[in-house]
Symmetry: C2
Subunit: 421 residues, 2 copies
């Protein structure tokens, strides 16, 4: 029975029994964390052999004989460029290999646009800079915009991708300079942009001639099931419209090998690669080629990567299912929330229906369960409806996650009754 | 006998015999490179055990139990912070560990000053930004300034450090925002700033309240001899004058472990650390802690680092001596050039006296010997006197270096006679 259909007395009775449960859990002094998209230790164990790839002097050379222990190869070693090119279905010449962080590559790219521009006057010297943010979205994208005073405009993300009509309207404004997208297994909703949406984005004709979409393909191959979502190649889609320069793609092995210890990359048009390299050659001498080579040896081709990702999926799929099962069992019948059932990625997105998400976060915290800061999935940390909660199920153990899901559902019930009564 | 004291006929005769030598060498089709400060392969071999430090799961934890395979510790792992703090004689809290490139840390810091400022209005929004460049200096420093349109003002570097009088005059201009320094074993002259100069720099009172000296201590422990130069700790010197915020120090293990594969760091005042961290937390999640840990395990303390640097010195000292010996034997008696005799670092600086340095570079190139692009040691690549040549003796083998030095001396003689006759 839905809470909204219950009478006041019934709700109060329920509240009291739930509150007893709450007190019981409180006495357990839990310390559980569902806040960040971090792989668990057993996932990291899968990649340990990466660290054994380069031990001796003869391990240090690229396939074309370059010594990775010394300076050089600013855009990356050939085998690593080829691997990422295969992953993103682009040419190796359109790939730059970075350091361990794709976030840093994105930050540096936005910084470059601000300070030296994206082909025109630096964004920072133009009257205003606005970005479209598909919401709910990734807090670290929003943080980059906020850091630089880029005004963020919310556009609700639909089940099959961005709201093209709204975006078409917004990009008539020449101060709207770009957009952040996580096109596959979106953070946090887990949806993948449909072919139609990808084509529609490729077809966009923004007023700003220096418009850039940050195509953060962080979960390009992070499938949970044997029939994964399929994302249309954005650069293929752009060919029809000649809009390749509008998109800069990023990815990394953060959630393939080691978060903060993997390899990142940029894929972009010839023009954008040229512009990025013109900055990079001043910014650094080269990125860490030894780590690139370690990865390229462990992942000789995409088949090796895909096999590896199946091992990740085998570990994290049950965790997603634990959370979804808890929601199904504890929230569905009472109609207390909507949630996504992603085929991949790192998150489940939950929208509470009859209470404040912030209040749920507070209650969880009081029981020792840390959620992603409520509101963080929206620019400026402000969820206008105060309803979205991002669940990151990968880091806790299975038993921790069971407990954490139970606590979360309990807190949603409590907060909902508080609100309804 | 000095060339300038020789008669025309004598010079022509000499020229002809040198030219015959030139033609002989030309027929050898040499391919030698003295252009960049790169360690040779046998130096890199010294550090191979770094790569063996982290193989198994139990190797991946910091001393306080943090798993370096996952996200976290934005400012670096404790043991690495301590190591660099010891190296630079500062507190660990005043150290941030970066990625593999200290150049990138410097670029990112200047970028931050341009875009968000150094405590005041962003440099990029002020009327003009000028930097003092001690010349000859490091081309990649100048490239950062040029990239951002920072106007560079040459101040000749003296034997014991910068020309304080000239600098004192220049910093009366509030648009003079900073200065690049390589205070120990300066690139390229190899000199170390005297205690008096370091104190004088610490005592500077620039008009610009957001003045920053980039203290690039790249060769902090890169001694060639058992009685090394000693650099006064800049932050100690600043204490007397309360000018700690004016200096941001950088170093890396590029020439201790692996160029492009080492660990870099920033040392700065509490204020500057706070400002840098406020940007860093948006720029990235963390740097590569596995590589930090590899280094920290291989270098448990400064004694280990110093012992390691003695091994480097044993390899590269003879190379410096080969070049210096060639100069002494081939150039001294004719008074064709002045050169530095550094106690450490990676370079010898040569000033030709009676010819164009550019012409020497061309002649060397025609014989297959690559020098650092002549002019590169000055801002905008313009050596006003066209006389400075940077010699990087470390990368070639001993026999290559002998040949390259011979070629260089020959070309200086040829160019000098061309010019004198």
């Amino acid at each position: 029975m839905q809470f909204t259909a219950m009478g006041r007395d019934e709700l109060v009775d329920l509240y009291n029994s739930l509150k007893a449960e709450y007190e019981q859990i409180k006495s357990e002094n839990l310390c559980l964390d569902m806040s960040r998209g971090k792989p668990a230790a057993d996932q990291l164990d899968l990649s340990m052999d990466i660290l054994k790839q380069i031990i001796g002097v003869y391990d240090c050379k690229t396939e074309n004989g370059f010594d990775c222990r010394n300076y050089g190869l600013l855009d990356g070693i050939p085998e690593c460029k080829r691997l990422f090119a295969d992953m993103l279905e682009v040419e190796p010449k359109n790939v730059i290999i970075g350091g361990t962080s794709s976030l840093a590559l994105m930050f540096d790219y936005i910084t470059q646009c601000m300070l030296t521009g994206a082909g025109l006057m630096p964004w920072g010297k133009q009257s205003a800079v606005k970005f479209i943010c598909n919401v709910p979205g990734y807090d670290r994208h929003f943080a980059i915009c906020e850091h630089y005073g880029i005004k963020m405009i919310n556009v609700p993300l639909l089940d099959d991708g961005p709201d093209i009509d709204k975006i078409t309207e917004l990009i008539k404004d020449p101060t709207v300079k770009g957009m952040f997208c996580v096109p596959k297994y979106s953070n946090p909703t887990g949806i993948t942009y449909s072919d139609e949406k990808v084509r529609a984005l490729a077809a966009l004709k923004p007023s700003a001639k220096d418009f850039r979409v940050i195509w953060d393909n962080a979960y390009a191959i992070h499938d949970l099931y044997s029939e994964p979502d399929r994302l249309l190649n954005i650069f293929e889609a752009c060919k029809e419209f000649g809009t390749e320069d509008n998109f800069v793609e990023f990815t990394s092995t953060a959630k393939i090998s080691f978060p903060g210890g993997g390899v990142s990359c940029i894929a972009a048009s010839d023009n954008n690669i040229r512009m990025i390299m013109s900055r990079l050659k001043t910014q650094t001498i080269c990125y860490d080629k030894l780590n690139q080579l370690r990865h390229a040896k462990f992942f000789p081709d995409m088949d090796a990567v895909k096999l590896h990702m199946k091992k990740h999926a085998a570990i994290i799929r049950p965790k997603f299912e634990i959370v979804l099962e808890a929601f199904e069992n504890e929230l569905a019948e009472y109609d207390l929330a909507d949630w996504t059932k992603p085929n991949g990625g790192y998150f489940i997105s939950l929208d509470v229906k009859h209470c404040s998400a912030k209040r749920v976060g507070e209650l969880c915290k009081s029981l020792g369960v840390t959620l992603t800061t409520v509101g963080a999935t929206y620019p400026y940390g402000k969820d206008p409806d105060d309803r979205n909660i991002r669940i990151a199920p990968t880091f806790p153990t299975v038993s921790e996650l069971k407990k954490a899901s139970e606590v979360l559902c309990l807190c949603i019930k409590l907060a909902s009754i508080e609100n309804l009564v």
